[in-house]
């Protein structure tokens, strides 16, 4: 195998660079590490999927980057945006980045909108903060944005409150608010998890359209591999506070290298191929304060060897842009699973 760089070189296409990001939560009696050195980069205009089970640190990564974890969290490592540092830059500069350069939308849109403020006012607030537009001009722009995200009768809807709208509508409002700041990157944290299946598809379509129009980059945090396969250029798989594998989306679904990724793919139903028994990954995700030594996945891994439990496996490139944190990656040969190609279409 050709020697490949283990870290992707920074280029001028690079938007966000995260190196060795750690997060420790101060629980009073003990300090619990939930991120163990995340390396992740986002290029301009790129869509990166972040997948993994709940609690693996997908959301925490981005909350940490934006300084949204609160005083109990201690964040370490480096995160840069366009070459400028993001961690520890102070609230004032950070609040210009939040919403202005990196916007974030969340899982439960209705709970994320202030219940006592009108929809229009909440969009206008972002316009005021990031583009300095106020008054009638702000309302006109807010109307245009709400119209853009597919809210019918936007002018009337602006005077309504979040509880008068459906979850899907509220997620559209969140997207409009995010667009108000004209960000370079939109972090969509499980944007469709709380919504009906039909609404899910509409919201994902909307995100695709909006991205095509604005050219902004997007991080799609999800535990739904199907959603990620359809929408992302590149995918990073997280397990217990580490990125265990990342690769271009097609490659990941065709040639998954980490046993955990393979396990996730094997747990998906295959709609096109022959009927087979769905596999599940044995065991449970360990608690953050009770991680095994070495590879955190070792106790649940079918390919585990003695050396796996000794040290944490380093990140290695198995192909261009395909990085895996598994000591046995490259030695584990097995045919690309039939179901993965179905997912990747």
């Amino acid at each position: 195998m050709v020697a490949l760089p283990d870290v992707e070189p920074a280029t001028d296409r690079r938007l966000v660079d995260i190196r060795g990001l750690t997060v420790d939560f101060d629980m009073g009696a003990r300090v619990s590490r939930v991120l163990h050195g995340i390396d992740l980069s986002i290029d301009k205009g790129e869509v990166v999927g972040l997948v993994g089970e709940s609690g693996c640190g997908k959301s925490v990564t981005w909350l940490a980057v934006l300084g949204l974890l609160g005083p109990r969290a201690h964040v370490g490592g480096i995160a840069t945006l366009g070459g400028e540092p993001l961690l520890g830059i102070g609230d004032e500069r950070l609040s210009r980045v939040r919403g202005g350069r990196i916007a974030m939308i969340f899982q439960d849109p209705t709970a994320c909108l202030n219940p006592v403020k009108r929809i229009g006012a909440q969009v206008c607030e972002a316009l005021h903060l990031h583009r300095g537009i106020v008054g009638e001009r702000a309302r006109a722009e807010a109307r245009r944005l709400l119209d853009r995200v597919g809210i019918a009768a936007a002018a009337q809807r602006m005077n309504e409150y979040p509880h008068q709208m459906s979850g899907g509508m509220n997620q559209r409002v969140m997207i409009a608010t995010a667009l108000a700041g004209e960000p370079d990157l939109l972090v969509a944290d499980e944007p469709t998890t709380a919504l009906d299946a039909t609404i899910q598809a509409q919201i994902l379509d909307l995100l695709r359209e909006v991205r095509r129009d604005t050219g902004m980059a997007m991080v799609l945090i999800s535990h739904d591999l199907g959603v990620v396969a359809e929408n992302c250029d590149r995918v990073a798989v997280m397990y217990c506070g580490r990125v265990v594998e990342q690769a271009p989306a097609e490659r990941l679904f065709e040639k998954p290298s980490h046993p955990y990724t393979r396990g996730l793919l094997a747990a998906l139903p295959d709609l096109a191929g022959p009927t087979r028994r769905l596999e599940s990954i044995p065991g449970n995700v360990p608690e953050p304060w009770n991680l095994p030594t070495g590879c955190a996945f070792a106790p649940r891994c079918g390919a585990c060897r003695d050396f796996c439990t000794g040290t944490v496996p380093p990140y290695r490139a198995v192909a261009a842009g395909h990085l895996v944190a598994c000591a046995r990656a490259g030695f584990l040969h097995h045919a690309p699973s039939a179901q993965s190609s179905a997912v990747a279409r």
Binding site: L63, L66, L68, D91, E92, S95, R96, V97, R98, G99, G100, A103, M104, F106, D108, A111, C112, L113, N114, P115, V116, K117, E125, A126, L129, H130, Y161, H163, M174, T177, A178, G181
Partner: protein, 312 residues
């Protein structure tokens, strides 16, 4: 909206009627005013004449009906002590009580609300713990104990302030502080827990994520939401402005409505006691109603009349 108001109004009248009825029967079952106001040694003819002149010789149900009819005519009866109309007597005392309860109310708000907000923002800090300790103490020490301690300290030992009476503004300081402390403690506790709950809500994090600076998040996003439970307790306190100082007025011999109530009960001065209780009931009902309207103004989800009327 009209339907909502009608239902609320009807309920308010029922509440007041219930209080009045209750007071009427309890007072009449708990002793004979004739024996208390005249002395027990008074000749039986005098007692009989007194009863007759006040209508106490009639059957209870007839007294009750007459009383109710009189209320609707605006006649709240006369004091059995000096024969003046009960309403006039009570109204004479209202300014004195308000002189204590209004400054105390301001004190409660000025200390309680900021202390609660500040404690919530600095959760688990020294200030937060101090606020919690003070509010538990202020809440659990009965006002007559606190009043007596303050008298002992500032009137007896330090001799800075008078221990009772109502000659000038200095006399009001100790009772106002006594009244205000307990209220401030309660408001601080409510405000703190309301604020803590709101600060944990997803929309607070979402507001930060969209770039709202922290001070604006607190003022414009968190506070209006935290106001809902706090307004409840403040509204309740508004209802006690007229007669919420019964104990404190007694401790400091302050000539207000509360003291009049205590004296009136002791003397079985039926009309006066009933008049005070009617006034209290009306204040409570009015403040509850105001709180309900405020809810709707603060929180669009609670605009009960809006959803009721437009048939959503």
């Amino acid at each position: 909206m009209m339907r909502y108001l009608a239902i609320r109004g009807l309920r308010a009248i029922l509440t007041i009627a219930f209080v009045v009825t209750f007071a009427f029967f309890i007072l009449r079952l708990s002793g004979d005013p004739a024996l208390l106001i005249l002395s027990p040694e008074a000749p039986p003819e005098a007692v009989e004449a007194f009863r007759k002149s006040w209508g106490l010789d009639r059957p209870l149900w007839e007294q009750y009906l007459r009383y109710f009819v009189a209320i609707f005519e605006g006649n709240l009866g006369r004091s059995m002590r000096d024969g003046r109309p009960a309403l006039d007597l009570v109204m004479d005392r209202v300014p004195a009580t308000l002189m204590l309860t209004l400054p105390a109310f301001a004190l409660k708000l000025l200390i309680g609300v900021p202390a609660g907000i500040f404690a919530a923002l600095r959760r688990n800090s020294f200030v937060d713990r101090l606020v919690i300790v003070c509010s538990v103490a202020g809440h659990s020490v009965p006002s007559f104990v606190l009043g007596l301690v303050l008298v002992l300290l500032f009137a007896v030992n330090l001799n800075w302030l008078p221990s009772g009476g109502a000659d000038n503004w200095k006399h009001a300081i100790l009772p106002v502080v006594t009244l205000g402390t307990a209220g401030a403690a309660i408001i601080a506790r409510f405000t703190r827990s309301a604020m803590l709950e709101v600060l944990g809500q997803p929309y607070v994090r979402a507001a930060l994520a969209k770039g709202v600076p922290w001070p604006s998040v607190v003022w414009r996003h968190a506070l209006p939401n935290a106001a809902i439970p706090t307004v409840t307790i403040i509204g309740f306190m508004v209802g006690t402005l007229i007669a919420g100082a019964v104990v404190v007025e007694s401790v400091f011999s302050w000539p207000g409505v509360g003291r009049m109530l205590v004296v009136g009960v002791a003397n079985r001065d039926l009309a006066v006691v009933q008049c005070v209780l009617l006034l209290v009931a009306m204040c409570m009902v009015a403040s509850n109603f105001t709180v309900d309207l405020l809810y709707g103004w603060i929180d669009p989800r609670l605009r009960a009349w809006a959803t009721g009327a437009s048939g959503h």
